[in-house]
């Protein structure tokens, strides 16, 4: 029997921040993820914004966690050595009728102590010359910023693993294991339809066997509702994925300097036009409710919708400059807010449920969960402490995750020195994004090894440029096969069933 102190389910940004934060303490932690890599669900495809926190409903967990999380990013970026830029963000009003929406956002920001400022249309035009000429004003939030969700998640996860967390990929949660006494009790309770004494979870069943722990943390993202239902918690809570589609623009052709939101709609923050840490302009997302939690298809209608939305902010964009399309899912649910003055039922869930012991429940982790994740992790620590878990800081905990060299970010002298050290850094494999063999090999042998094409892509940015990997793909398949000691035929895009190649050609 494998006994742990804590099992974490799910390796998105929330799971990674929880794992990293808990790795500080003297605990045996198992971390399970159903996919072949971390960072493949909601975290993998979103707007990459670290929100200021002015638009979450005042009093909600979303607002509190957003504001607290936002403040933590500078230190996180420094410790985990991932890129982050506090660029400030803008909500742009087009035409006089949209100006009122800025006041409402400013009020919300003031309520939470989020610094915001309403600037004139002329000032906005000056800061972003390509903005719609009918801009009437903008809400500027200086504490907003941009991140690379892949880099942040992978860095946090790697730091967790460096500090002793045991990560098991391809391990899918199936059910909970209950303490036998409380399990019997639970059956009789459900027969009586009453809420009686607390039942206790002692482990999880997975496709890779059973694992036992004193505490299980649900960080299952899009699937958090299914996990909590297996625990008998919040049967009325459902995650309804809202899909958002995006365009990535060629950075040589399109230069947007800022993070530009439209005034928000009822269902989302609207279709934005934003700069990214990689210099590419990102356009999107729309918000479409869908039934399938794995359906990340882009659609003709969705692409039309984001294009119309983007042109409202920046009319001069051209679809000819689109170099990539993708879609992501928002794992939003119907959790009521406790602290909100006005009714609000889209809050985060961060709790130890009353009637289930040994279970920390997280849910509804849509935007601003990326921003909030480090604060959510601290709140999980507080909950565990409150429940009497003995949390002793490890003497040898190391908060620093050393970044690996990124060839394209170095100056010529440093590039030459790196190649002199390891000649594989001299060989460029991805021509559009200038990713070298050395970087790819380093990721394959990293603390969390990249074993698929997409895993390498998320870690190096390879294959994200104009040719979408057409040039690098055969070369990366070769390198993966060589480094992993497998045949090229078994190299995959994103795990089993997604192999690139079918068979050898005829002799």
């Amino acid at each position: 029997m494998q006994q742990y102190d804590i099992i974490i389910i799910g390796a998105g940004i929330v799971g990674s921040m929880v794992a990293r934060t808990l790795s500080r303490y003297d605990l045996d932690i198992l971390w399970i993820e159903k996919e072949s890599d971390i960072c493949t669900g909601a975290t993998a495809a979103n707007s990459a914004i670290v929100h200021g926190g002015y638009d979450a409903m005042p009093g909600s967990l979303k607002a509190k966690m957003n504001i607290a999380g936002n403040a933590m990013w500078d230190q996180l970026a420094a410790e985990l050595q991932f890129p982050f830029a506090r660029t400030g963000t803008y909500v742009v009003a087009i035409g006089a009728e949209e100006l009122a929406a800025l006041d409402e956002l400013k009020r919300r920001g003031d309520a939470g102590g989020v610094p915001t400022e309403i600037i004139s249309g002329a000032a906005m035009r000056e800061r972003e010359p390509s903005i719609n000429a009918e801009v009437s004003g903008a809400l500027y939030c200086p504490t907003g910023g941009i991140c690379d969700p892949w880099a942040a998640t992978i860095a946090a996860a790697e730091n967790a693993v460096m500090n002793g967390v045991e990560l098991r990929l391809n391990t899918a949660f199936e059910d909970f294991i209950w303490d036998s006494e409380s399990a019997n009790q639970r059956i009789s309770e459900s027969a009586n339809q009453g809420i009686g004494e607390t039942s206790k979870i002692v482990g999880v069943k997975t496709n890779q066997g059973d694992f036992y722990a004193r505490w299980i943390i649900n960080a299952a993202g899009l699937f958090a509702d299914e996990v909590m239902h297996k625990a008998g918690v919040r049967p009325e809570f459902h995650i309804t994925p809202r899909r958002g589609e995006y365009y990535v623009m060629d950075r040589i052709k399109v230069q947007i300097n800022n993070v530009l939101f439209p005034v928000p709609s009822k269902v989302s923050k609207g279709i934005l036009v934003t700069t990214t840490l990689h210099g590419n302009t990102l356009v999107g997302p729309n918000a479409k409710e869908i039934a399938d939690k794995t359906d990340v298809a882009v659609t003709a209608e969705g692409m039309r919708e984001i294009w119309d939305g983007a042109q409202k902010l920046v009319p001069g964009l051209s679809q000819r400059d689109v170099i990539a399309t993708f879609a992501g899912l928002r794992p939003g649910g119907n959790a009521p807010c406790i602290g909100c003055a006005t009714p609000y039922n889209k809050d985060f869930i961060i709790e130890i449920p009353e009637n289930v012991a040994g279970f920390v429940n997280l849910g509804g982790m849509e935007s601003p969960a990326l921003t909030a994740a480090p604060a959510i992790a601290e709140r999980v620590v507080a909950l565990l402490q409150g429940a009497g878990v003995d949390l002793r800081v490890k003497a040898d905990w190391n908060p620093i995750r050393p970044a690996r060299p990124v060839f394209r970010h170095l100056d010529r002298k440093a590039q030459a020195a790196l190649i002199a050290q390891d000649s594989r850094y001299g060989r460029v494999i991805c021509r559009c994004e200038t990713v070298t063999e050395g970087e790819i090999v380093a990721e394959i042998h990293a603390p969390i090894p990249a074993t698929t094409y997409d895993a390498i892509k998320r870690r190096t940015w390879l294959g994200t440029g104009r040719c979408l990997g057409g040039f690098d793909m055969p070369r990366v398949v070769d390198i993966l096969a060589r480094e992993l000691g497998v045949a090229p035929l078994s190299v995959s895009k994103k795990g089993e069933g997604s192999e690139f190649l079918h068979r050898r050609t005829k002799a």
């Binding site: 003709a300 879609a327 030459a416 060989r427 063999e437 104009r466 057409g470 079918h502």
Partner: protein
């Protein structure tokens, strides 16, 4: 290692090799070719089908053999080259930064640079193809590399979107390898590649071509499982009720090529938004003095022989320029696209250099005309030169050669407008 050269050529495909040879023969002392792959020849090395060299050698050669002739000649006359070497940056003052495992990071300098980077394939993003992102969606050229260079089949049941030449050639190649090619879908109402490839690669192998059809969406999460094909109207909009699910495990895209000019842009070269390549004069010099461009980096050609010709011209002119020291792109006579002409290359004809035997204007038509036509070059209303064709098709380039007898008129012209008119 030597770091200063008379001429540096970026890319060793047919344009680059021809340019390097011509520059060397034309009097450039030292000529260096930079190639990112491990052999000279560029994309020709994966084009193992025949059909190359009919104009140049009056022979029907496979791509690698065609490339080898130029590679051999280049080596024989002392053209230097660096393989497995990527160019990181080119500056307007003709410094070139390259990197390789063997040589490390180098700064090179050239008196003249010839850009010969070729082109890249349009991707699913550029046609905004709906669906998720499973394995099994590849550009035709990537699949071609896997099959012909690496020796792997990327699937067993294929659908090909786009009737570009590489897609049609791959349809035949995959069939030879025992794969099933369900068909080729083309959104336009006409073929976009060469008619000869339609006959030799599709018709001869009973592979259906569906004009005015496209892929409405890709189906499959981990690996392609099917595509939903649909007929489109004259505005390329799907016609409801014509959808058909075609089971397959691989979708190949042959939906166009884009001249690859990111390095040109770094060097300050101005691009023509229609061709995607640099504005060039009749010697293939760009707006940046001493920087030339040759081959598919300028505009997408239909036959390798014309690429070779362009390389020869660029190489020769670069060598001449080094000897005579005339660096500025001259104020030449501009060319213009007239009726049913999408673009004309070169963009400018320099009257001072009209000393060659012939000057070829190359163009592509906007829409097919399946009837006898006349190709004309006019200065205003005055026809300077013309020729007859039986038809014109967007997939097939139109060449019009100006000769010595036309040059007086060219010198006096305000502009040269190319047009295609029915006869």
């Amino acid at each position: 290692m030597k770091t200063t050269y008379d001429v540096i050529v970026i890319g060793s495909g047919p344009g680059g090799l021809a340019a390097a040879i011509a520059a060397k023969k034309g009097g450039a002392d030292d000529v260096l070719v930079l190639e990112r792959d491990i052999e000279l020849g560029g994309i020709l090395l994966q084009c193992i089908h025949s059909g190359f060299g009919l104009e140049t050698f009056k022979e029907d050669l496979p791509g690698p053999s065609y490339a080898q002739r130029f590679a051999d000649e280049a080596k024989a006359i002392g053209v230097e080259y660096l393989l497995d070497t990527m160019v990181l940056d080119v500056t307007p003052d003709r410094r070139i930064f390259v990197t390789s495992s063997r040589g490390g990071l180098l700064e090179l300098h050239a008196r003249a640079i010839i850009m010969a980077m070729g082109c890249r394939e349009r991707t699913r993003a550029q046609i905004r193809l709906p669906g998720p992102r499973p394995a099994g969606v590849y550009t035709a050229g990537t699949a071609q590399r896997w099959v012909n260079v690496e020796g792997y089949m990327p699937g067993k049941r294929f659908v090909i979107l786009g009737s570009g030449d590489i897609g049609m050639i791959m349809a035949r190649r995959l069939t030879f390898e025992g794969a099933k090619v369900e068909g080729v879908l083309e959104v336009m109402p006409y073929l976009t590649g060469l008619s000869r490839n339609y006959v030799q690669c599709l018709l001869d192998f009973d592979i259906p071509l569906h004009l005015s059809h496209t892929v409405k969406r890709i189906i499959g999460k981990n690996r392609v499982e099917a595509v939903e094909a649909v007929a489109v109207d004259e505005r390329w909009q799907p016609i409801p009720g014509t959808e058909e699910i075609i089971p397959c495990d691989t979708l190949l895209l042959s939906v166009g090529l884009i001249p690859e000019n990111e390095l040109s842009l770094k060097a300050g070269v101005t691009l023509d938004p229609v061709t995607g390549g640099p504005y060039v004069d009749d010697g293939f010099q760009t707006n940046v003095p001493g920087i030339y461009a040759a081959g598919n980096v300028v505009h997408v050609y239909d036959l390798v022989d014309w690429v070779t010709q362009a390389g020869i011209t660029a190489g020769k002119r670069a060598a001449q320029q080094i000897t005579n020291g005339k660096w500025q792109m001259a104020n030449g006579v501009p060319t213009q696209a007239g009726d049913n002409v999408r673009y004309v290359v070169p963009h400018k004809v320099n009257p001072e250099t009209l000393t060659e035997d012939t000057l070829m204007l190359q163009m592509r038509v906007t829409r097919p005309l399946e009837q006898p036509v006349r190709i004309e070059v006019r200065d205003g209303e005055t026809v300077i030169a013309s020729k007859n064709e039986r038809y014109v098709r967007p997939g097939e380039m139109v060449n019009l050669t100006l000769r010595g007898r036309d040059y007086d008129a060219v010198r006096q012209a305000k502009s040269l407008t190319a047009a295609v008119v029915p006869r």
